[in-house]
């Protein structure tokens, strides 16, 4: 569901009428300010100073570099608030509003690591060495402490939970992750991409967007990784398959190019074998860590794709 400002504003007004929360007016303004936990909502942590809000291209003023990836996922605005406890420890809360829930899910999978602890906050949450990320509705929430001490980690969770409680909208994951067969899948490794930059940060087939990626999913199965890119129709997937095939064949990073009617394979400069195959509206890529032995897996994945298409029809 796409969360529009109007919808969120309506939710916000309804919540206000119920009277369970007092709305804080901030410099940031707007409904997203409401998601920030207030002084009375937290036991040990209090807000310090005023929240800051940055919209659209002004994200550059806040994070001062590296904003492209946020824009690729569909960034709209961010609000930040600092919290402090009696000992003077600080935690920073950032709420990134994205275009829709799939964008929020996508940037969540980009920002979270693969080593951490899955916790029950929002739609998905991941607690790592000194920070946590969760997404809910069309919002990505990042809570950062500055050490890994117990009270900091507890603070991260309590601030995240208080924020979660204030975000009343729900969101759904995009359908693509469902296409990844579950057997042997490291679910923490899943990355949902919405462009080439997200992909290149994971694996660089080419610095150019040779697969024309606009939506895709990746997952790690231990002995191999899978990339699935989705297109509007079969013609489009075939067009990008052929374009990528021609590029990879001539890219010196890859060798041992082998082509058949329905797929091609190459080996990258680290000796990893790569199998690329168009299937219906998708392109499936298997990146082996040594050898690829994924015939059963491929069959399962194709079945998932077929079933999904049947349901859609």
């Amino acid at each position: 569901m796409k969360i529009t400002p109007l919808f969120a504003l309506t939710s916000f007004m309804m919540i206000s009428l119920i009277g369970s929360h007092c709305v804080r007016k901030t410099n940031g303004g707007g409904y997203i300010s409401y998601y920030l936990p207030a002084s009375n909502g937290l036991k040990d942590w209090k807000p310090v100073g005023q929240p800051q809000k940055f919209e659209g291209e002004d994200l550059f003023l806040y994070i001062n570099g590296g904003t492209e990836i946020y824009h690729e996922y569909g960034f709209t605005q961010v609000i930040t608030q600092e919290y402090r406890n009696k000992k003077g420890k600080t935690i920073n809360l950032e709420l990134y509003e994205m275009e829709d829930s799939s964008s929020a899910y996508g940037i969540f999978t980009f920002k979270k690591g693969d080593i951490g602890q899955k916790i029950r906050i929002g739609n998905d949450a991941f607690l790592e060495e000194y920070y946590l990320n969760f997404w809910k509705g069309n919002v990505l929430v990042t809570v950062t402490g500055f050490d890994s001490e117990r009270e900091t980690m507890d603070g991260l969770i309590s601030i995240a939970e208080a924020t979660d409680a204030r975000i009343k909208t729900q969101g759904q994951k995009p359908p693509l992750p469902v296409l990844l067969p579950r057997k042997n899948l490291n679910v923490n490794s899943i990355k949902y991409v919405k462009g080439n930059l997200g992909l290149v940060n994971h694996y660089a087939f080419d610095s150019e967007n040779i697969f024309g990626v606009k939506e895709g999913i990746t997952g790690d199965y231990g002995t191999f990784e899978v990339f699935l890119f989705q297109y509007d129709d079969e013609n489009e997937s075939l067009k990008w398959y052929e374009y990528a095939r021609d590029h990879l064949e001539n890219n010196p990073k890859f060798h041992n190019f082998a082509n058949s009617d329905s797929a091609f394979s190459v080996i990258d400069d680290e000796g990893k074998p790569i199998h690329v195959e168009p299937y219906l509206n998708d392109i499936i890529i298997i990146l082996g860590k040594k050898q690829i032995d994924a015939a059963i897996f491929l069959a399962e994945m194709k079945e998932s794709i077929r079933e999904t298409m049947t349901i859609e029809e």
Binding site: N64, E68, K111, Y131, L197
Partner: protein, 317 residues
């Protein structure tokens, strides 16, 4: 300074190079990169790397192994230092201990004034502990209003392929010696940030905005444009010394973080920015030839990107 020097005269005049590289608006130094090393007996050192838990001590040793601070800072000189205070997220800013050591060494070398330059807000400096470190060591924290373009001097980029004019903070020109102090880390846009990219900290943020394409396009041409601008900017500013904090840094979600921390506990010193960045990127498995900015800087002949051709002295304290 315009004449090229051989290694012997470079070693003799090392500090003067620093002074002359920024005087009178003539930023572009004619420093010859093949002379950017130090000679100990038969041992030639292009980059010195010191690993240790005490980052203050590691910084001192890294500079000593590269000839000592007196090689770069003359008596009564004004020294500009450029740490990265981007954010207080762990692994995203230059450690205060690294900055403290540099200020201490500059003072000991006889610097009259040490100016820590930035257009970032004071809060960044307070939150990272860098303001306290700078002041405690007796350096000046010189904060330039990022919104006032009159505080930045237009400088033509004659060799620029993408960037034709930079806008360097005027405060920079009041100094004789320039030491850049980046933290190396991940960058979600162009994969890596180090000495080359740190130079954007002297350029006006509004000018830096122009390094990025309209609508924050993420196609490869836009990323190449950004990296070309970074390399171009480096053709007009040459640090007299680069000291890179590679002690603890993020390898994901850069440059802002929070992200996965790597702790090589290394401080890297040298002059050749390209070689230093090539060394730093491979600390977390990146190949120098996969980093566009390094390639572009190499094309500008700003340094050596093949680590096989660079003499790296590494020690552990």
């Amino acid at each position: 300074m315009s004449e090229k020097m051989d290694r012997r005269s470079f070693l003799q005049k090392g500090a003067i190079i620093g002074a002359s590289s920024v005087v009178g608006g003539k930023i572009l130094s004619a420093l010859v990169l093949k002379n950017s090393n130090v000679l100990y007996g038969d041992e030639k050192v292009d980059i010195s790397v010191v690993k240790g838990e005490d980052y203050f001590e590691s910084t001192i040793r890294a500079v000593e192994e590269f000839g000592g601070m007196k090689r770069f800072v003359t008596k009564n000189s004004r020294v500009a230092i450029l740490p990265n205070a981007q954010r207080n997220n762990p692994g995203t800013y230059t450690k205060p201990d690294v900055v403290r050591a540099v200020v201490r060494m500059c003072k000991k070398a006889g610097a009259k004034e040490i100016n820590c330059l930035s257009w970032l807000p004071e809060k960044n400096w307070e939150d990272t502990g860098l303001a306290k470190a700078v002041k405690k060591e007796g350096a000046n924290l010189v904060l330039v209003n990022r919104n006032d373009e009159s505080l930045f001097k237009p400088v033509p980029v004659k060799k620029g392929k993408a960037l034709k004019e930079a806008r360097i903070m005027k405060e920079f020109f009041k100094n004789d010696v320039f030491i850049t102090l980046p933290v190396t880390k991940d960058h979600a846009g162009n994969k890596f940030t180090g000495t080359l990219k740190n130079m954007m900290g002297l350029n006006s943020p509004q000018n830096n905005r122009g390094f990025h394409k309209e609508d924050w396009d993420t196609n490869i041409d836009s990323i190449r444009f950004l990296d070309q601008c970074i390399a171009d900017l480096n053709t007009i500013i040459e640090p007299d010394l680069c000291i890179v904090d590679a002690t603890e840094f993020i390898t994901t979600n850069g440059p802002f973080g929070p992200g996965k921390l790597l702790k090589p506990q290394k401080v890297v010193a040298g002059i050749d920015r390209v070689a230093i960045d090539a060394y730093c990127c491979q600390l977390w498995g990146l190949k120098p030839d996969s980093i566009i900015a390094i390639n572009k800087a190499y094309e500008h002949e700003l340094g050596e990107m093949s680590l096989k051709k660079v003499n790296i002295k590494e020690l552990e304290v």
